[in-house]
Amino acid sequence: MSVIAVATGRGAWARLGAGIRHHKMASFGAGIVILMVLSALLAPWLAPHDPLEQDVLLRLASPSADFPLGNDSFGRDILARILWGGRVSLYVSTLSVLIAIFVGGALGILAGYIGGLFDRVLMAAMDVLLSFPTLVMGLLVVAMMGPTVGNLILAITLTAVAPFARIARAPTLTVKERDFVEAGRALGFSHLRIMVVHILPNVLDDILVMGALWLATAIRTEASLSFIGLGVRPPTASWGGMIREGFENILDAPWLAIFPSIAILVVMFGLNMLGDGLRDTSDPRLRHE
């Protein structure tokens, strides 16, 4: 077996993985995120009660041994609803960020690589998209098209495409000026090959860091829309919706708002720590602490 044959590309994932492991904050954040993902995935087994099961006798009941986080205004188990609500948050935000990474990343790399008029028109279009405040745009899409999970994903994706296009374009502009790209052209590589094999791996770090931070933004947007009343339709549990309901009963039962708030905060901290840590490890300027 030749040494060349076993030479494998050290992918962005492996590199980021190594970075996370060496960075205390990043690994702590990653731990929280993994816990959140697990608890959402395992909600059906972890939740002690059915999240939709109502019990009038337990209306606004304070935490008890059987219902450790108390009950809401329909007597539903708050713990179960938080676990199930995490599923919605995670599903909506992950899917919309993935689509935005794919579409925005591709547009950004294309714009940066092709340059010229194409670049200017595309980026002007992105500027127009960015001219609508994120949340306002989300509000409008969901309100006009109807509060379904699909439309939520569409709304959040729409707000995220332009930022990802920008974040992918900037490093593309520098990478394409580097000599190895020109060497590729001199060696007869196709433009597609240069973009996918030579530029993409060099801009992926930036995109993934932004991805972690945007996952937090997406969860926040989803929760905000639910809080305003434009999230997933009740009775499906969502954190934003639970906080909205808690806010309406804030004087009688403050825990109604507090527990789902804590859930959001923990996840936000986890994702932001992960994203910050990734940024530290991928930014050569900050790498040598």
Binding site: V3, I4, R10, A12, D179, A183, G188, V197
Partner: protein, 337 residues
Amino acid sequence: MTTPLLDVRNLSKTFVARRGFMGGESAVVHAVSDVSFSVAAGEAFGLVGESGCGKSTTGRAILRLVEPDSGAVLLKGEDVLAANPRRLRALRRRMQIVFQDPYSSLNPRRTIGQTLTEPMAVHGLGSARKILEAVRMVLAEVGMPIDAANKYPHEFSGGQRQRIGIARALVLRPELIVADEPVSALDVSIQAQILVLLRGLQQRHNLSFVLISHDLGVVRHFCSTVSVMYLGRIVERGPVPAIFDEPLHPYTRALRNASPVPDPKAKVIMGKLEGEVASALSPPSGCHFHPRCPHVMEICRGVYPSWVQVAPDRGVACHLYPAGIGSTVSAAAAPGR
């Protein structure tokens, strides 16, 4: 006369410098104007000049990494500039480039092995085993150990990376290499290693080189023929010792005098050449060099001097050498050697 390996004829390239977002004003930069030269098989041809003189653009235009506006680049008689994409791919196997900056010339995310196998795989040159064998050979040829293939560029020093960059250029077995300042980013002792390596490759494979450099010492050491460029044009061309020992063009002379020599008895003639290189955005009228020229005459301000062939292998574009000295020929028709 046999066809030279590379024949560059009246190559010109202008860039449009845009200012501002919507491109309000724009200015035309004549990066390369009417450049002609030819390179024989196995010859090392030097292109020398200061930054912004158009030498790098010329080198890239030969490989069509920038599209020239006019002129012709013939590789063994086949026009590179007229080639369709398929032909161009085939032509690109025969000419390669080595870059100045050993850090930006290698993809930091690819192993040396990947970098070296990729060109052969893309051109469909043989089986995996054959490709592997070729990579092994080319690594040995540039003096790198075979286990380098498993490593990433950041694990190597500048000199080693430059060897890898040369290996990448060699892997398709080209006939011509454009070397753009191949040693100027390296330390003196490493420069010598790379120059000796390149010289060895040239002799072993009868490779032709277009060596682009601002360092007259490197050019004198490596090249047999040299062209001196100033603001996009060739101002003097000839065989190497002659050009540096008896420069004709005042600019070549100034360049020679300003080039430091490691000998305290031959100090740089300092500060003689006043003024700075004019901007290529607005080159001076007439001879571009006239504002700095110690021998400036009235005609220099208005008329760009025509090319004067002062000897069969030597020419100059300067009004100091009226057409009587040699036989005046147009730059296009001037034989390379």
